[in-house]
């Protein structure tokens, strides 16, 4: 049986994009409304689907649909979701409407509180249709059960994002856009070689993921192919030392695009590590665990330290994300139930937290017209709501217990610490070191908060208006989710856990977590 859920989820935004693109000139408002409507439809569909998701039943992929696409390459249009894919699709579906609302006026020329134009008027229809195309691709990349299809989306996603950064971004936008594209493209091309290699070596004549699991036996081959995939994902994630594109891209992109970039697109990297690197090349994954964990820990600490030194809000947030992605990678490669479940959960929570942070920062910047922290001060006094949301988002960023990001960070660290996969020692040390990040996180967030929100109100800040209804509608849902999942993460974890268990089985890690406190029960 093939279910139509996922194809519909992908078709709807595409159709929406076409409609928006074909709207007559000067119907900007309509374009926005249509986009919002479409994205909300997608959200509703996704939620309905998610609630039908049978959590603990047999086969790996639910809502599967497989059609032949390119028979002579053995490529199928194969989609289906396991727990992790489901939550990530849900994440995208939630973020898009929020981003639409958030970037309502981004394309029609942004004026600061004192009325100076910071970004000129640009084509509104293009921006929003790109957004919808991107949504379709984001859903596709997580839903793909065919390695080739995954790759296609993995690369094709770059283009709409490239245009969103390049033509709607800040002063350095084209540099940032090109850097982003080339970095990712390079990784992607290496991955292409690995993808072909996988096809050739496996000799199965198909790219369907389930049929490729455990096919590659020869360790040397595994290592090469693993490397091909991993480098691409490491660049995407981004992992130290191939991270430098992110701060530029995120800083130059309009806040909305930045949210999707850091919140969703980068997750494809960690998602790919978890599904492809681990399950297709288990031996290589185990062989490379230690070096990768080291890189992850470096990212965690390094990202945090560099973040402290940033003077530009968006760059700062970008670096905090680098630190957070370090945690995710650590969780993925800690090879324990708790850690990997934590990592998967982290992908979602980080989407919400960083999303909120970027958007709040975006609202600040749109009022002041400058991303430089030094240009602010005393916002709390004039715009308490904005300040409040910014603070909560920041606290989520430093993963304050009671907010969603804490649960995942805690699970990753404790899971890594207790992981018995490889003679716990080294992983414990890694977890211990990465725990230092909780201190650094407090420093970079609170210092930024102190310099922007607190203290005497700076002169230009006096003109600030507090959040309007639209902006509240943007931030409130995120904060609600952050707090809600902070106290009750179970729904997400119940969906994630079986998939993680499955993964660990495929990786042939004998993990007590499965035996004792297995996800199922």
């Amino acid at each position: 049986m093939s279910s139509l859920w996922l194809p519909i989820l992908m078709v709807v935004p595409v159709l929406g994009a076409i409609v928006v693109a074909l709207l007559p000139k000067g119907s900007d408002k309509l374009a926005k409304q249509v986009t919002l409507a479409v994205s909300l439809v997608v959200l509703v569909l996704t939620l309905v689907m998610a609630f039908q998701f049978p959590s603990a039943s047999g086969d790996r992929f639910k809502f599967e649909a497989v059609y032949d696409w390119i028979p002579s390459f053995g490529v199928h249009f194969g989609v289906g979701v396991d727990g992790i894919a489901l939550v990530l699709i849900a994440l995208s579906a939630v973020l898009v409407p929020i981003v639409v609302l958030a970037s309502w006026h981004d394309a029609d020329g942004v004026r600061t509180a004192d009325g100076t134009l910071i970004t000129p008027k640009r084509s509104v229809k293009t921006y929003f249709s790109l957004l919808l195309v991107l949504e379709a691709m984001m859903i596709g990349v997580f839903a793909a059960t065919d390695v080739f299809l995954f790759y296609v989306f993995f690369e094709a996603m770059l283009i709409p994002m490239y245009f969103m950064i390049g033509s709607y971004g800040g002063a350095q936008r084209s540099y940032a856009a090109v850097k982003f594209l080339l970095y990712s493209l390079f990784g992607g091309l290496l991955m292409l070689v690995a993808v072909i290699g996988l096809y050739v070596v496996a000799g199965k004549g198909t790219f369907m993921f389930p049929e490729l699991v455990g096919v590659i036996q020869d360790p040397a081959t595994q290592k090469w192919l693993f490397a091909g995939f991993f480098i691409a994902f490491a660049i995407k994630a981004p992992l130290w030392p191939v991270h430098t594109w992110l701060p530029d891209a995120a800083a130059q992109a309009p806040a909305g695009a930045a949210v999707l970039l850091v919140g969703v697109l980068d997750k494809v990297g960690t998602f790919g590590m978890l599904r492809f690197c681990l399950e297709l090349f288990p031996d290589a994954a185990k062989a490379f665990t230690m070096p990768i964990v080291v890189l992850a820990v470096i990212s965690i600490i390094y990202g945090a330290i560099v973040a402290i030194g940033q003077s530009d809000m968006k760059r700062l947030i970008a670096y905090t994300s680098i630190s957070h992605f370090g945690f995710i990678v650590l969780g993925v490669f800690a090879m324990s139930q708790v850690a990997q479940a934590g990592a998967a959960l982290y992908m979602v929570n980080h989407g919400f937290a960083t999303g909120a942070l970027f958007l709040a920062a975006g609202f600040l910047i749109s009022r002041r017209g400058s991303p430089h922290i030094a240009d602010y001060g005393g916002v709390q006094k004039v715009a308490p709501l904005l300040a409040g949301f910014f603070l909560v988002a920041g606290l989520a960023g430093l993963s304050l217990p009671g907010l969603s990001s804490f649960v995942s960070e805690f699970m990753v660290m404790i899971g890594a610490y207790s992981s018995t996969a490889f003679g716990s020692g080294a992983l414990s040390v890694a977890a211990g070191i990465s725990a230092l990040a909780v201190i650094l996180a407090a420093v970079y967030i609170l210092w930024m908060v102190q310099r922007t929100l607190n203290g005497p109100t700076a002169e230009p800040v006096k003109a600030f208006k507090d959040l309007n209804v639209r902006e509240i509608l943007v931030l409130a849902p995120l904060v609600a989710l952050i707090i809600g999942f902070g106290f009750y993460p179970k729904p997400l974890l119940d969906v994630i856990n079986p998939t993680v268990t499955q993964t660990l089985v495929n990786v042939q890690v004998d993990n007590p977590a499965i035996a004792e406190k297995g996800a199922g029960q």
Partner: protein
């Protein structure tokens, strides 16, 4: 030397497309000779288009008839096998499209002989009409392009080579604007072309000396029996290679390409970039797979170096180009490199070879259409002094005419091989073939093929940089004050661009039909 030479048998049916095109060309010449000037164009255009269309129809008829001949036609001079028919079809469609471009006013000089700005040019201008001998020339060139890859012996191949090249030499010199560049291009192309074909010829002589025949299967025969290390053979192979690699513009024989592509009239550039490349690759395959197939353990390593060098030279040098056509020329050099990867992807199993052959054919189709489309766009982005050749003039095009810029951007992405464009599948097919042949047990190169593919992706990453650069110019940077004007494109040009776009998008989304055709054409491999 006994006995009389018996009259040759010619399979007119099989050769019909070829003959039709040549016939039309001859008629074209007669028209030039006898028809009054004001009539000529109105005769030429339908004549040319119809003959090309008819040729295509005939090709289709043969293809649909199914059973392809297993023996060469015309006393073993021409092999009308699957690949030939496929290549003929492609060339005919591409050249048809290019003719539509050529039709546009203002590409060609009124009188090639006239000195620019001289009185008799004025007179020629006022007399009206472009240079109508363009049409028969093009037809001859197309005929040559068809003969070149279908030739079953080296002599026919040489003749085809010349028939293809000579008209092109002339056509390059006929640009209406920037005459000096055009003529210079034509001269360089001519001299170097002749030079390289001399090498080809000498190589042919050596081979003949070794094998005692110039028919490709004959040579193959000789290889399977005779000594393999005869310097005659090796040198001959090398010199043949020079001639062929020169035509596809592989390094270190690529020097002519940028100059000629830049100087030639853009429609002709399009014709060369698509048709000539297709034909030359076809011929290359025939020589090295059919004629020298048994020697591949020797030429593949060398081809490895050529391919690698070509890809790198092409993509690295393109980065710093400022002339759009020149940049596209370098990009086509890089693509020639990718094609060479496919040429090296030989197997022991016929099935494997068929696989890589179809990969190459597929690549040729998608690249051909995309490149024609790209040049077509170039023809309508105008300055007062002709086409807006300098890249800086393209700044902000996306703002002024988003549709055109978008189309061009899409072609560029296809060149770069971004998924969901036809170019991606082309690259993919070739790379797959290469890795496959490398993975084959006991392959003489083995891991080296992987290395080459990695080199290939690195090259395409570098190449992506300059494609992206153009997109940045068009969309992200603000328009130049006196930006280029977009000429209202003729229906012909619009047709060309839309066809190219259609293929690039369509194949990018659903490559299977084209792949089926290629597979079918390649299934029987070449006649041996």
């Amino acid at each position: 030397m006994n006995g009389a030479i018996e009259a040759p048998t010619i399979e007119y049916g099989l050769l019909a497309p070829l003959l039709l095109v040549f016939g039309a060309a001859v008629i074209g010449v007669l028209v030039e000779a006898f028809a009054p000037r004001y009539l000529r164009k109105s005769i030429h255009v339908p004549l040319t288009l119809l003959s090309l269309a008819g040729g295509f129809a005939l090709v289709l008829v043969q293809a649909l008839r199914g059973s392809l001949p297993t023996t060469p036609a015309a006393m073993g001079a021409v092999a009308v096998d699957g690949p030939s028919l496929f290549i003929w079809g492609v060339i005919l469609v591409l050249s048809f499209v290019c003719v539509l471009l050529i039709n546009d006013e203002g590409h060609f000089v009124a009188s090639a002989a006239a000195v620019p700005g001289s009185a008799d040019e004025e007179e020629a201008e006022t007399a009206g009409g472009g240079h109508t001998e363009v049409y028969p020339l093009v037809l001859f060139a197309v005929g040559g392009m068809m003969l070149f890859p279908a030739a079953h012996d080296l002599l026919t191949m040489f003749v085809g080579l010349e028939v293809m090249s000579l008209p092109l030499y002339l056509l390059c010199g006929l640009a209406r604007r920037r005459r000096l560049l055009s003529q210079e291009a034509s001269m360089k192309y001519f001299l170097l072309g002749a030079f390289s074909s001399a090498f080809f010829l000498y190589g042919m002589a050596m081979i003949y000396g070794y094998a005692g025949t110039v028919s490709l299967p004959g040579i193959n025969q000789a290889l399977s029996s005779g000594v393999l290390l005869d310097p005659l053979l090796l040198i001959g192979m090398a010199l043949l290679g020079v001639g062929l690699l020169f035509k596809i513009g592989a390094a270190p024989f690529q020097a002519w390409k940028p100059d000629v592509y830049q100087g030639a009239p853009t429609p002709i550039t399009a014709l060369m970039a698509s048709g000539t490349l297709v034909a030359a690759v076809g011929a290359l395959l025939r020589v090295f797979w059919v004629g020298l197939g048994n020697l591949d353990w020797d030429w593949r390593p060398v081809m490895w170096g050529v391919a690698a060098l070509t890809m790198l030279v092409g993509s690295i040098l393109a980065i710093t180009q400022t002339d759009i056509k020149r940049m596209l020329a370098y990009s086509s050099i890089a693509h020639a490199g990718f094609l060479l990867i496919g040429v090296m992807a030989t197997f022991d199993s016929p099935a494997g070879n068929a696989g890589s052959l179809s990969a190459i054919l597929f690549y040729l189709v998608v690249y051909g259409f995309t490149t024609v489309g790209a040049f077509a766009v170039v023809t309508i982005v105008r300055d007062p002094g002709g086409e807006a050749w300098h890249l800086s003039r393209w700044a902000g095009l996306g703002k002024r005419s988003p549709l055109l810029a978008g189309t061009f951007a899409f072609f560029l992405l296809a060149f770069a091989g971004i998924p969901l464009t036809s170019g991606f599948f082309g690259k993919y097919a070739v790379f797959t073939a290469a890795l496959g042949s490398g993975a084959e047990v006991g392959d003489s190169l083995g891991g080296w093929m992987v290395g080459l593919v990695v080199l290939g992706v690195v090259a395409s990453a570098v190449a992506a940089f300059f494609y992206v650069r153009v997109i940045v110019l068009m969309f992200f940077s603000d328009a130049a004050a006196d930006g280029p004007s977009i000429a209202v494109p003729s229906t012909g040009t619009v047709a060309v661009i839309s066809v190219a776009m259609l293929v690039t998008v369509g194949v990018g989304l659903f490559p299977q039909p084209v792949l089926d055709l290629a597979n079918q054409a390649a299934s029987g491999l070449f006649i041996r």
